[in-house]
């Protein structure tokens, strides 16, 4: 655009009193720019003046030396004009009051050497504002060639299913890709489900099946099982997605960035751009580069990551003091849940009834930390599972040893309801050892509410190991960008339990705004 500049200096809000406005006007004048002053620029007359200059003189690039852009943004908005706000009020006059930084005396004014810092600051800000408008142009909206309103959901667990239903209800077309042969994810293996709504006080029937059934009501939702994403190319509103079977190799598998050690030659010298590209293509042999779009790819406007978690896999010997990996009847909460969903709770070692079950919430050893990757749900899961023992055996006993019972907010109600159960013993304490005792086991604990050092006979011991986001092992989203696995995006995607949407543009020419996330209404 052909810029026609106009500089306007406001004298209101103490600016006129604190600054030498005439001198300030010299700044634009020296640059040959038109400058006007006004007692109250935001007042009727001030705004009229601006409007008139825009209409009559074609001024389209305005420098308003007045107050912060935080305020009066609506008053000083003029369509088709560049408006720069130079903040003389808050940044100069108000924060550097003349009471503290006195105005120059008559003598000082005549003194060539004397510098009035406040005046100088105002002049500098004005110069910066003028320099800025010279450089900037009005932003032009980025227009997409093809625009898709379809939503891709990666992962068909309870999160992905809920997201798809909510998006479909709002009128969007959705595709779910699930790498397994059936939907459901981890929730497939639950005997019962934690309460998710008021009064939060008892277990409920798992909602997964009814959710999957509901999914069937929407013709807008397509489900692709045994499918993963090979690559997502493009940008929000026009992603091109290539699908494949898990484990399959395709030319549209996303290329990996070169590891650092491959970016230099034998002598440690950095490679040239051409050499780097050659290396990159070699490294990613058989794959198309990131700029090549898959002609058979499907278009999507937005992507929701709902790939969930996998159970934490303890390292060898990591919890040996708790018998894990040593004694067959020490299992993780995940294994226990599967067992409970399959039928009555028994000992893996001999199939005998497991009537006394100990749940351990913290690996102990002098620390009050929970198991790695434990989350907001881990304490609740132990309480839920303790209830299974009571459901299966009228004389069953469950012991939960914890450092911190983490039943936040209203889920405290569930904790309180469990406390009422005579057969469930909840205590703070540190489990020090789990050892074999005949057919069963002995669990030793310190500093418990039941006594200082106690021993409990157990048929089964359950460790509250955590949930590892699948994105820890696998990028899942496979964005075809130059970014690496440690990039902000990948860290961002690490967050679990929350489906995350990529930017979700609302109309092709409009601003690309943040997404209306599709959360299962919790």
């Amino acid at each position: 655009m052909d810029k026609k500049y106009g500089v306007y200096i406001c004298e209101g809000c103490g600016i006129g009193e604190a600054l030498d406005i005439e001198k300030l006007c010299d700044v634009p004048k020296e640059e040959g720019l038109a400058v006007k002053t006004c007692p109250v620029l935001c007042g009727k007359e001030g705004v009229e003046l601006l409007k008139k200059d825009i209409a009559d003189d074609g001024v389209n690039t305005l420098v308003l030396a007045a107050c912060s852009r935080r305020v009066l943004y609506d008053v000083f908005r003029f369509d088709g004009c560049i408006v720069e706000r130079v903040n003389l009020r808050e940044q100069v006059v108000w924060s550097h009051p003349r009471s503290k930084y006195p105005a120059p005396t008559a003598d000082q004014k005549d003194d060539e050497e004397f510098i009035d810092l406040v005046q100088m600051m105002a002049e500098d800000y004005l110069k910066m504002g003028m320099a800025r408008v010279e450089k900037v142009d009005l932003p032009e909206p980025y227009l997409l060639d093809t625009f898709s309103r379809k939503i891709l959901v990666i992962g068909g667990g309870i999160t992905g299913i809920s997201a798809a239903i909510d998006a479909a209800k709002t009128g969007y077309e959705v595709t779910i890709v699930e790498k397994e042969s059936v939907l459901g994810g981890n929730a497939k293996n639950w005997r019962k489900q934690l309460p998710g709504a008021y009064p939060y006080d008892g277990l409920i029937r798992p909602t997964l099946d009814s959710k999957i059934k509901e999914l069937g009501n929407y013709s807008r939702i397509a489900v692709k099982t045994e499918t993963v994403v090979a690559r997502i190319a493009g940008a929000p509103g026009e992603f091109t997605v290539t699908f494949k079977k898990p484990g399959e190799k395709t030319e549209f598998d996303v290329p990996y960035p070169l590891p650092d050690e491959m970016k230099v030659d034998d002598k440690g010298k950095e490679l040239t751009a051409e050499q780097l590209h050659e290396k990159f293509m070699e490294y990613n042999e058989g794959k198309q580069d990131i700029l090549t779009l898959d002609p058979n790819g499907e278009k999507f406007g937005a992507v929701i990551l709902a790939a969930g978690w996998r159970p934490y896999q303890p390292e060898e010997g990591e919890f040996a003091h708790l018998g894990f990996g040593v004694l067959p009847d020490v299992v993780t909460n995940h294994q226990f849940e599967e067992m409970a969903a399959g039928g009555q709770i028994t000992r893996p070692s001999d199939g005998q009834e497991a009537k006394s079950v100990v749940f351990i919430q913290s690996p102990g050893q002098g620390d009050d930390k929970d198991f790695p990757y434990a989350g907001a749900v881990t304490s609740l899961v132990a309480l839920k599972q303790a209830k299974y023992v009571r459901d299966d055996y009228a004389d069953g006993k469950a012991f939960v040893f914890y450092q911190h019972m983490r039943t936040l907010g209203l889920t405290e109600n569930f904790y309180k309801s469990i406390q009422q159960d005579q057969g469930i013993f909840l205590t703070k304490g540190e489990v020090t050892a789990v050892s074999k005792n005949g057919d069963g086991m002995i669990v030793e604990a310190d500093n418990t509410l039941l006594g200082e050092k106690i021993q409990v006979k157990a048929d089964l011991v359950v460790l509250a190991t955590g949930m590892v986001p699948v994105t820890k092992d696998d990028p899942v989203v496979n964005l075809a960008t130059a970014r690496d696995r440690d990039s902000a995006i990948m860290r961002f995607l690490m967050t679990m339990r929350i489906p995350i949407l990529s930017a979700f543009p609302m109309k092709p020419s409009g601003p690309v705004s943040m997404p209306p996330a599709v959360f299962g209404a919790a």
Binding site: G12, V40, R70, D368, K369, H404, L408, E412, P516
Partner: protein, 425 residues
């Protein structure tokens, strides 16, 4: 435009409450094309988080996040903000609600430049609710520096007095209009999201913890204000009795929460809030001793656990597993002795400190003020969502105690629920 499938955006949504939850719902809905009315009873937006000094776990100032949201509002003509406004009546059904909104007078119009001359002229001093009475406002005031909308307010208390006249005379910008009157607006909206938030549980009700009786026992929200650069002490943490810099501070967890006599539920945020406030103290007083009396430290999940781990490394922060049963004051030096019972050993612990912070919990505002709409409440006053009926939804702390991150997630979800009501009308 080969692939486009249009989902038309039409209809309007009323969001009640301009805290972080309401802001989020309003913005998310407006940015996908819906018309939104955001109704806030205070003269400013931001709700409770505007009072906080820093956010856990990142310890950034809430003004930063709020400013981004305000910026989004400024750029979005689809959001109409009404401050000093309250819903009076709701009739109708999902997809079609008639709502009456009462807008109270601010007595200051859009000419206000925030010059502050009116406040300088006012001779009235009124306890600032925003600062829990630790600061006085003038009869004309700006709620806080970064208040949005940035416009002064005249306290209704001075209307009709000489002081009001003084303010008006001081204003060079013709911004004060003492004849402004309350007015009622009638709107028709398709769905309503209630984001009416929470209030600190009244600590004077917790008899055994001495609040209101001993000056050096404060609440966690007061601590936020003391630590805030725009607070009554400009960020200096001093104890109320003598403005001394405290050398020892005790935090009393679950003050009023998880207690059948007060709030039976857990307030979700007070464990993290106390750990955060320990960092406020540490930042200012490297040597101060800090004692945290707790039942359970509820800091689950990757970020919160990491935060707790970091605090644990501090040698001068002591965690004591025990519920505080009583407090007493030494009348000579106004120090407080906290008596707690160790949860595990039953042993009594006495600890004398210079200042005590009660980690008081949150109570929904709807526990005390029911809304003029057909809503269901839990025994504790939280609004229960009925997704079968649809149309009206509660979000944030109006629905359950929550931190900002969870409130925002929930608020985004509720924007979607509100939109679904409009789409499926």
């Amino acid at each position: 435009m080969t692939e486009e499938q249009t989902v038309p955006a039409s209809g309007s949504i009323l969001v009640v409450g301009g805290g972080i939850s309401g802001l989020t719902t309003a913005l998310e809905a407006a940015e996908v094309g819906y018309e939104v009315f955001l109704v806030e009873k205070n003269p400013f937006l931001g709700g409770r988080v505007a009072q906080l000094n820093q956010y856990f776990p990142k310890l950034c100032p809430p003004t930063c996040g709020l400013e981004i949201n305000f910026r989004r509002i400024k750029d979005n003509p689809r959001i109409k903000v009404l401050t000093l406004a309250e819903v009076e009546k709701v009739d109708g059904s999902p997809g079609n609600y008639d709502v009456a909104i009462k807008v109270n007078p601010r007595y200051v119009n859009e000419n206000c430049t925030c010059c502050g001359d009116c406040a300088a002229a006012s001779q009235t001093e009124i306890d600032s609710e925003f600062d829990f009475g630790m600061k006085k406002n003038k009869g004309a005031y700006l709620p806080f520096e970064m208040a949005f909308p940035s416009r002064f307010v005249i306290s209704p208390e001075i209307i009709g007095s000489d002081d009001a006249r003084r303010c008006k005379e001081a204003c060079k910008y013709d911004a004060i209009d003492l004849d402004m009157a309350a007015k009622t607006l009638n709107l028709n909206v398709g769905s309503i999201v209630w984001a009416t938030g929470w209030q600190p549980y009244d600590a004077t009700k917790i008899d055994n913890l001495g609040f209101g009786q001993y000056p050096n026992i404060i609440t966690n929200m007061m601590m936020e204000r003391l630590a805030a650069p725009n607070g009554p002490t400009r960020g200096k943490i001093v104890r109320p009795s003598d403005d001394k810099e405290p050398e020892s501070v005790a935090f009393v967890q679950c003050a009023g929460s998880r207690d059948e006599n007060h709030l039976p539920y857990c307030s979700y945020i007070c464990c993290m809030a106390s750990l955060k406030q320990a960092t406020y103290i540490r930042e200012r007083y490297p040597q101060a001793k800090i004692y945290v009396f707790y039942i359970d430290l509820r800091t689950p999940g990757y970020r919160y656990e990491k935060f707790y781990e970091k605090i644990k490394e501090d040698e001068n922060i002591f965690f004591i597993k025990g519920k505080v049963a009583e407090v007493s004051e030494d009348p000579a030096n106004k120090n407080i002795t906290v008596v707690a019972e160790n949860a595990v050993t039953g042993e009594k612990i006495h600890q004398t400190v210079e200042m005590v912070v009660l980690a008081t919990g949150m109570q929904p505002t709807t526990a005390t003020d029911k809304l003029p709409a057909d809503l269901t409440y839990s025994e504790d006053g939280f609004i229960i969502n009925n997704f079968e009926n649809g149309g009206m939804f509660a979000t944030g702390c109006a629905n359950k105690p929550a931190d900002v991150v969870s409130s925002n997630q929930n608020a985004t979800g509720m924007a979607l629920k509100a939109i679904q009501t409009l789409v499926n009308r």
